[in-house]
Symmetry: D2
Subunit: 283 residues, 4 copies
């Protein structure tokens, strides 16, 4: 399983090159981005061959791109956003990226039942476009309890409902963005992971939780891996056990910008990964 | 549009032959059945050629069959029921039937959001099996207000939500069983019909409502066509206008068995159809 | 059925506005285009409201756009072309266009069996993108016999093979671009049309054939409607009979540019349409 | 990877129980069957609990069932066969079987291009029914050269064409029945295996080839594993390397019944498996 970073918990970089270099320097093998524009710039400046060589030289891959389509609002917006998806997917695919991810909030102001139907169709259409370019769509189930009532109507947040949803969507390139924080806050366990096939997991997020009652863990109050109460050793060990071989990327959402320089945060992250990978027997 | 009957409001018949003969005698061109066994018996006794000849001789077709699969309960039941669907569809198809219908209650004891995902997948699987045999799946949206709270959680009941759902199901052979009573109680109008393409309507039910406030119209308290307050002339005229050419079958659900002999009820139905067809300018 | 024109047999126009005006002046209700750029320019210059008003004022619609994706060559080209499809579909849809068409040659230099598999998947992906915007994909079967051996391996050209192919593609928004010339040269008849449902026809082409043996009719040697030997009255009458309500667009492919001014050619086309529509009892 | 047997090369058994017992006795962990009737009989006699306990006690699973649907002939036959598929799939699924396999001949008397379209649709429908019960459909590409001209028109036989076909079929539960003999006779290599994802392999067949030119290897002239010229060590090692964890079942097709008692043949098979598994470093 490839260690990866996002800018959440690390901060932004002046360029994709810097991002890749720093990831490499601290032992990470993947970077996530929500900004496909910077992938295109990267290809534009170096040529595709040059861009691929740069990635290979630093032993870093593009772990995932954020889904650049707003599928939660009105149809006109969805249609408009979708006009750009194929080009983004092509750029990501050219750089070897195979994952595109979006989160799913556990409540909604829409009529939740009808929204399930609409979202099923829209995410299928998204997955179909991504599939042309060999990308998979990772859906992130969001566990923190406070978000279940943050909007008018409850939607879904548990693994089994998502598995049912994947079948409703019906495209083979749809699976989980499986996030340790959401695994923990949705009160799942290693048996839940064991019930998954590796191809049902598109991408993994790693982060940790404060020692508060699980129902009180806030979405934007996360810790670096190994600094909190989630049994990340068990989480990682079980992912490995079922055959997951993809990227495990840190995503630390916090209310305040974390203290320290970017190098401090990268080191802290690298140390955290080392700790939990070792505890899991992975290195 | 072909006038049809079901046994609801008419009562059962000793045999499919009797059912067909009586339909023919009273000017109906289609009979609906929820009992595919009697189709199989009919074919078994007369041979397929003989059965088809009998239908042709009486100028009656099989309007629709009821879906013999319980898709609302647990997965084991669904899987078990589905083992019989293909054979039923084959029998119906051999007799020229192209419609298989099921109703969708407007509330449910399930978690309604997750149930939407599960039902989407199951009804897709049903439609896929029916499609092998050239049958379409008609979903009946159910309008009466009292049923929206009859079970724990509201589901969907309006035309637009169903249109969204059809897209989520994603099979081209899925559409409405469009029922005049539900059209009325879901407070739709002729403009709603005009927004439909004829191929989105698999089957039509005709019946009438008592002169009570629409919110008080009960599902099992229906009148024969032309005896109530629904503007069936507008309903039929608009269906014709958009190009619907299929069966319009009576389905009269009542608390008590209607008074009169079966011939009385057939005549009453035939008169009701004549009245509203004439009002619609269809004959 | 709405009379339409393409530039084939008429020649190009300085602008889409001119094209629309001339169509309107000669009694046509639709214009086809292979240049979505001009739709975008039209919207850009007038605004969407203004563009729609212009169309309405002239009682002209956009009949169809040509598929701007090369699906017959290598995968990289296909993927690259597909990046632009959604934006083109959105522009066409905004102007009310619902048809996007491509032709299918009856022979290929590819291994034809494997190409059938590849093309099935690619055209499904095309249809899925078009479907987001409410467009349908019309596939034109190409009848002239000489093209069956123009490339190394025979592909398919008859209606029934295309019907099988539509089922293989499996998207509900795929159907025929049904061309009178191909209907004639593939030696189909009115019974073949009768076997179609109107929703299986996305778009229709009208043109005529020289009085040569059908096997000798060349693809680029067509006549204006009513000038040749195809029974266009029967063709149109049967399309009407099965419920087709869409556009019937002229497409006259000729070796040499037809003689006469553009107005001459428009008048000749309008006269041809009038003749065959009258013969079909349509006006 | 679980060692399995079929009756090909071993001969039939008086009952499924005997088959399971003998498999277990000789160290095999899976039995394949083309006779779902015997699964049903097995469940009928022991009850589902008892049947599952019997399998577990002998550490044997049902490796795969043969597809009981003739998808290569006319539509009526296909439709008729498909009526029984769901019940067979349910029985197999109840016993824990997840694979259903069929072979694809490399030539056909049909128009091969159109047959590709028809077969794509039919195998999709088959996969959809199997998917209800959690079964996957394994398609066996058939390599022996003599079969490429055994019928009128060449179809497909190489891995890449099948990968294209899987995309055309478009169901996620479709993949290879990957057979060592066909791998060898289609002149594929370990790099071809490396290009596969484990989930693209539904089932594996193991057998060996005589030391004749590869173009002369006959389909029904196979050897037991380790007795011939196929590099089965590389074959198995690479399957393991890409993450395949399913069944590897022997299937020895021969012109004459192999010599020796059934126990002789089981021992010969077990020895052959041991030899090639050891050579592959798997035990």
């Amino acid at each position: 399983m490839i260690k990866g970073i996002s800018t959440a918990g690390i901060g932004g970089f002046a360029s994709l090159e810097d991002y890749i270099k720093k990831a490499s320097q601290y032992g990470f093998g993947a970077v996530d981005t929500n900004n496909v524009g910077e992938l295109r710039k990267f290809i534009g400046e170096r040529g595709l061959e040059g861009a691929l060589a740069f990635l290979q030289e630093h032993n870093v891959r593009i772990g995932s791109i954020g889904l650049p389509v707003e599928w939660r609002q009105d149809e006109a917006r969805f249609r408009s956003d979708l006009t750009k998806l194929a080009a983004d997917a092509e750029a990501a695919a050219q750089l070897g990226c195979t994952a595109c991810c979006t989160y799913v909030l556990p409540s909604t102001d829409h009529d939740a039942v009808r929204f399930m139907a609409v979202a099923t169709r829209r995410l299928r259409q998204v997955a179909q476009v991504l599939g042309v370019y060999g990308l998979r769509l990772g859906l992130e189930h969001v566990g923190p309890h406070h978000l279940r009532t943050a909007w008018k109507n409850p939607f879904i947040w548990d693994q089994d409902s998502f598995l049912d949803w994947f079948e409703a969507i019906g495209e083979k390139n749809v699976g989980f963005l499986y996030d340790a924080y959401h695994w923990y806050t949705s009160e799942a366990n290693v048996e839940d992971i064991r019930r998954l096939k590796p191809e049902q997991i598109v991408h993994v997020h790693l982060n940790d939780a404060k020692p508060v009652p699980v129902a009180d863990a806030l979405d934007n109050d996360r810790l670096y891996p190994g600094e909190g109460v989630i049994d990340l050793a068990a989480f990682l060990r079980t992912l490995k056990e079922i055959g997951y071989k993809g990227v495990v990327a840190q995503e630390i959402l916090t209310k305040e910008k974390p203290e320290g320089s970017q190098d401090d945060l990268l080191r802290r992250s690298a140390d955290g990964f080392a700790k939990v990978y070792q505890a899991a027997g992975l290195e």
